[in-house]
């Protein structure tokens, strides 16, 4: 699909001001920055000034200070956000997995309906799979390669009505573009030609500006954040010129690895910042602290670059008065971890850095900051979006309307996250790692994993935010109560899959 050019909309100054009034319902823009950990944002107290623009944006937004993803990788985290359901219900729990067909209709595009102009763009192929489950409910649905440096394959557009399965077949399998476990491309001719083309394009991007190369999508397709954010801006202006209110879901790949910030950001953070050393986890790859530190600083620099792009986007949207009648929501699908001998996400780690994500909601015309400190989950986003449009949440949803937008604060609410990628989506969840946060405590459960010496961890995050002091054998009463509660939830969720 062709992108909208900036030149094409350059003449449309104050577009939203012109069209405002044709329908008074607010527009809703959701920007998901893949792999953005709240714990690496200066907005949430990170010592490095990684997010000055988001900090400024927060001054006129509602800021959720304890917001969690239900999963620690894209599929699970994004599916929970889009369906408003816990992973053990929607079942997109495997790498590249899909939401169960019976729940696929629970998504903002279908539930908002055709009264909204609906726009979808996910640079992450696995998020694109999820959107691809309801392509007919998305009026303009860009390919993950839109605004990248790699030309889209026009043949793939033929299969847009079957986007999820065709994408799994073509991108993941035939072209092996999902970067998953180094599987060869199954197409011996087109797969080879495609691989050669993309690798050459990527190699050609190494320059003085990008000495390590440019950022890459899954499978290696190169892109520039500058161009992608320009594209997003052009798309939003185009949407603003329509008479209908619009819903835009924009899932951007950075700061996902590979962390390739532009040259001018590579000068940042040459400091002596050293987070506390944590014990090496039995499931880690055993990376040294020094190596992890070199990767952490690159990640932080990429966040800083993305933050600048976000700041540039917001200020241009402000110039066009787009935000006067729009909700702008900034969040992520999961975080990133640089500790315990590990770096990345999607493995068996349920620590704060990989689960705590940002959530900032700017309401139309909002000028003051509001802070919410109660625990919230990304399953709360869908019911909240529906409330913005004056819709009742679907009864199947597990999420609640966010506090600050009509939802009630519930301090006793458990916040559950899990990784169950080695578990069938069609069977009871029996092999997984879970996290359950309730008030100040967090329980981690390793279910059917051989963890030397322990299968549970318990932390008091108020007194021990770095999760250094495992209380599972010290505060037995709390641990026991949380375990009982957790297994009651799990057993209930597993009931429909119980083997007879």
């Amino acid at each position: 699909m062709a992108g909208v050019t900036l030149a094409g909309v350059a003449a449309s100054k104050k577009l939203s001001a012109i069209t405002a009034g044709s329908d008074s319902r607010p527009n809703i823009i959701v920007i998901v920055m893949d792999t953005l950990s709240a714990r690496h944002m200066s907005l949430h107290g990170y010592p490095r000034p990684t997010t000055p623009n988001m900090d400024a944006f927060a001054e006129r937004s509602t800021v959720y200070n304890n917001h969690y993803s239900c999963g620690n990788f894209t599929t699970t985290g994004t599916a929970s956000m889009l369906t408003g359901m816990l992973p053990w219900k929607h079942r997109a729990i495997n790498y590249g997995g899909l939401v169960l067909p019976e729940f696929a209709h629970c998504n903002p595009f279908s539930l908002l309906g055709s009264e909204y102009q609906r726009f979808g763009f996910a640079q992450n192929a696995w998020a694109d799979h999820l959107l691809g489950q309801y392509p007919r409910d998305i009026d303009r649905f860009l390919s993950p390669l839109a605004y990248s440096l790699t030309a889209e394959n026009p043949a793939l557009g033929l299969f847009d009505n079957d986007r999820a399965i065709s994408s799994i077949a073509v991108n993941d399998f035939l072209l092996s573009m999902d970067g998953q476990e180094n599987r060869p491309a199954a197409s011996s001719v087109f797969g080879y030609l495609n691989r050669s083309r993309i690798f050459r394009q990527t190699a050609a991007q190494v320059s003085a500006e990008y000495p390590r190369g440019v950022p890459e999508l899954m499978g290696g397709a190169p892109f520039l954040n500058e161009e992608v954010y320009d594209g997003v801006y052009a798309e939003l202006l185009q949407l603003a010129s329509q008479p209908k209110p619009y819903f835009a879901y924009i899932h951007l790949f950075s700061p996902h690895d590979p962390y390739n910030p532009r040259h001018d950001y590579r000068k940042l953070f040459n400091d002596d910042f050293a987070p506390p050393v944590k014990p090496v986890h039995p499931f880690s790859y055993g990376f040294t602290e020094e190596y992890v530190a070199t990767r952490r600083v690159l990640y932080d620099r990429l966040i800083a670059q993305v933050d600048d792009e976000f700041g540039r986007l917001v200020s241009r949207l402000d110039e066009e008065s787009v935000l006067d009648n729009s909700y702008l929501i900034l969040t992520s699908d999961h975080g990133e971890l640089f500790e315990r001998g590990f770096l990345g996400h999607g493995a068996h780690f349920m620590y704060e850095s990989v689960l705590r994500i940002p959530l900032l909601v700017h309401s139309p015309g909002q000028t003051k900051r509001e802070d919410v400190h109660s625990l919230t989950s990304n399953i709360d986003l869908l019911p909240t979006l529906l409330s913005f449009a004056g819709r009742d949440p679907a009864p199947e949803l597990d999420g609640r309307i966010l506090p600050g937008f009509g939802g009630e604060t519930d301090d006793d609410r458990p916040i559950i996250s899990l990784i169950a990628r080695e578990n069938s989506a069609f069977a009871p969840v029996e092999k997984a790692v879970f996290s359950m946060r309730r008030r100040s405590h967090k329980l981690i459960v390793y279910l059917n994993y051989e963890m030397p010496g322990r299968n549970f961890e318990l932390y008091n995050l108020e007194s021990d935010p770095e999760e250094l002091n495992d209380l599972s054998s010290k505060d037995v009463k709390t641990a026991s109560a949380m375990k009982d509660e957790f297994f009651a939830y799990l057993n209930e969720a597993n009931k429909r899959y119980s083997r007879k």
């Binding site: 899909l98 299969f159 079957d162 199954a186 001719v189 690798f199 290696g220 578990n423």
Partner: protein, 183 residues
């Protein structure tokens, strides 16, 4: 001149013989790689969805095989234009096709990760040069030596069974893909 050009176009039967071997190689590779993916698909795709993935894959294999056939016929036509004996076409083209296919799948297998991208690119010319250096003389050798040519043609004949089987599956696949995208 026109006669000279037309005389060197191989017959349909000979082309089908080459295509049978290409289909055997291309589809077998796709099915081989699918066995890496099948366990994970079974974790999150229903049986119908897995069948649909295979339908797309078989259609892609059809496209792969036709493209390779066109490339091989063209290469043979251009490279061996001076050889008038078209009875040698089949064995010669088969050897070329096998060389191309082997080079492609071995490289895809060896450099499957995208951390291998630099090596994939830097070694590309070398690998294809070797494939050409080995494949082209072998193509001539196999077409000129009667027993070798007989072996290749016999192999082609046996793979024709796969040709009809896979083409039938591709037809069903086309129907599945059409239904999924038009319904």
């Amino acid at each position: 001149m026109k006669k000279l050009l037309l005389d060197r176009i191989p017959g349909v039967k000979q082309i089908l013989g080459v295509y049978a071997v290409i289909v055997f190689g291309v589809y077998s590779w796709t099915l081989f790689v699918s066995f890496y993916n099948l366990p994970s698909w079974m974790f999150y795709l229903s049986a119908g969805q897995i069948a649909s993935v295979y339908a797309y894959a078989l259609l892609a294999s059809l496209a792969d095989s036709l493209l390779l056939l066109a490339g091989v016929v063209l290469a043979d036509y251009l490279l061996f234009f001076m050889l008038r004996d078209m009875t040698e076409f089949q064995s010669r083209a088969i050897v070329i096709a096998v060389a191309v296919l082997l080079c492609s799948v071995i490289r895809l297998y060896l450099f499957s990760g995208y951390e291998d991208s630099a090596e994939f690119i830097s070694s590309e010319c070398k690998w294809w040069a070797i494939a050409a250096a080995v494949g082209l003389p072998l193509a001539v050798l196999f077409s000129k030596v009667g027993r070798l040519r007989g072996f290749i043609e016999g192999f082609s004949e046996r793979t024709s069974l796969f040709l009809y089987f896979y083409l039938a599956l591709s037809g069903i696949s086309l129907a599945i893909v059409l239904v999924r995208n038009l319904s």
